[in-house]
């Protein structure tokens, strides 16, 4: 008699299929995370000339990343942990990291879809057009910056066990990020707040994205913003992994 354990590649493919199906059937959540940035993009059509196309795109993408990391990822993780979905998978001959990698890969795919939709709607509705290189580096930067918000979502799920509390906390943090971030970056909350927002997770991601959408105009400020983005990501992901528990007990 022989024991065979499934190849990791096959396990990962199976998990990805299930996680994709779960995401696809969870239309309400999918619509929420994809529609929020699109609605803001369309409603800002009249502001493109005033703010500049790069500022509009980078702000809207930052809001989209916040939606995915806080409203989508963290809530699904909290719900599935509470139901025992992870424990059921962990008793199977599956390396634990494949469970998390599958979940994160689906979110990265969603982030890529969100940014492509923003580019398409920005072009079709707001008549925003940037260089081909800008679209490519913008997409790549979005994926890098996406880890920051996935890390923040992971940290919240790590620190809070109850899925209802995770839900209300992420809504609160999301609302604070969007309102303080959007109004703060335009100086509506005063100069001090503008400075604070500039170095907040919202501000550094928005700045790094703005630089990536115009790669030929990349400056030291953009480099600092990118480094700060990576720094925040490392802290959030590190603490998120440290405090995360696979079950609620």
């Amino acid at each position: 008699m022989e024991t065979r354990i499934p190849a990791t590649k096959n396990v990962l493919t199976t998990l990805l299929q299930a996680d994709f199906t779960t995401l696809w059937r969870n239309r309400r959540s999918l619509r929420l995370v994809l529609l929020v940035p699109i609605i803001i993009l369309i409603s800002w059509k009249g502001l493109v000339d005033k703010l500049g196309p790069v500022m509009v795109l980078s702000s809207v993408i930052t809001i989209g990343l916040t939606s995915i990391g806080l409203m989508g990822y963290s809530n699904t993780m909290a719900r599935d942990r509470d139901r025992g979905v992870f424990q059921r998978l962990r008793v199977a001959p599956v390396p634990t990291w494949t469970i998390m990698l599958s979940r994160l890969s689906i979110q990265i795919g969603l982030i890529a879809l969100m940014v492509l939709l923003v580019f398409i709607v920005g072009f079709a509705v707001d008549k925003i057009s940037i260089s081909a290189l800008g679209y490519i580096t913008g997409l790549l930067m979005t994926i890098v910056a996406g880890w920051l918000y996935l890390g923040l979502g992971q940290l919240i799920v790590g620190l809070i066990k109850n899925p209802d509390t995770v839900n209300s906390t992420t809504r609160l943090v999301y609302f604070a990020f969007i309102m303080v971030g959007m109004f703060g970056q335009f100086g509506a909350l005063g100069e001090t707040m503008k400075e604070v927002v500039q170095w907040s997770p919202y501000g550094v991601v928005q700045k790094a994205l703005a630089g990536s959408l115009q790669p030929l105009l990349w400056t030291n400020d953009h480099t600092m913003a990118l480094l700060a983005t990576i720094g925040y990501t490392l802290v959030f992901v590190g603490l998120g992994i440290k405090y995360f528990k696979w079950d609620n007990k």
């Binding site: 022989e2 024991t3 190849a7 059937r25 139901r83 962990r90």
Partner: protein, 261 residues
């Protein structure tokens, strides 16, 4: 990847201890499950049943002792050990967006079993749920959910099946049906370890049982021998209600009348 199975019994738990911080939930527990045996783990709430089972499942690491599933150490060779066990957890544990067919395909995939659409239909037909392939798990009755859970636990034909309170909340018909399925697993020569609060269930299906209390195994034998061994104990006689000694009398006599939280 592969490895050869040589050692018996199917499950060997050797003096394991489990701690939660300073609290010791399991104290040097040892037990064996043999091929073609249904082994029951009984105990009051908080006695250490679930902690023992979680350690066997590889969900928590014992502080001391060793657990081997068909010779594979759950700590040293977790994937090989887990590949040889099927687990039915106590709580509902599937994504609510997935259909029963999706869930079967997912767990077949993670256990390395290839299932065609026809295979899925046939497997569901075996448990009389062929019409439920496109239903969500939450749309099934309690008995149907338990049948699906057991099907998934045995989808890879494991040598050891672990069932955590499998019949809790089921009506008598569903419970009898599940017992038949558990006995069918035994008939194939597989080992079954189940936890239960039902003494009737333990007497009806278990070949041997262990009573665990305060983290220690206080008795281990066949139900018949446990009754015979303890029928003269004053504590057992004092709790007897039916004029004859039952397994429940022995259980309460050994673990006490106090209700556990």
């Amino acid at each position: 990847m592969s490895n050869t199975l040589e050692q018996l019994p199917i499950l060997n738990v050797d003096r394991i201890s489990v701690f939660y911080g300073q609290f010791q939930a399991v104290k040097e527990v040892s037990l064996e499950v043999r091929p073609g045996e249904i082994f029951g783990l009984l105990g009051p709430n908080g006695a250490g049943k679930t902690s023992t089972l979680s350690a066997i499942e590889g969900l928590i690491r014992p502080a001391t002792g060793q657990i081997k599933v068909v010779g594979f150490d759950i700590v040293g060779q977790p994937l090989y050990a887990k590949a040889n066990m099927g687990v039915q957890l106590q709580a509902t544990s599937f994504q609510p967006e997935l259909t029963i067919a999706d869930i079967l395909k997912l767990y077949a995939g993670v256990y390395g079993v290839k299932l065609t659409k026809e295979d899925v239909f046939n497997r569901l037909q075996e448990i009389k749920l062929e019409d439920a392939a496109e239903k969500k798990y939450g749309q099934l009755s309690g008995g149907q959910q338990q049948r699906v859970s057991l099907l998934i636990a045995t989808i890879h034909n494991p040598a050891l099946v672990l069932l955590d309170e499998p019949t809790t909340g089921l009506d008598p018909q569903s419970r009898r049906q599940l017992w038949d399925r558990i006995e069918a697993i035994r008939a194939k020569g597989h080992g079954v370890l189940l936890t239960t609060h039902s003494m009737e269930e333990a007497e009806a299906v278990c070949d041997r049982i262990a009573i665990i209390d305060h983290g220690r195994i206080i008795a281990i034998d066949t139900p018949e021998r446990l009754i015979a061994l303890h029928r003269e104990d004053p504590e057992v006689i004092s709790v007897s209600r039916k004029g004859r000694i039952t397994l429940e009398d022995v259980f309460i006599g050994l673990t006490g009348r106090a209700v556990r939280s």
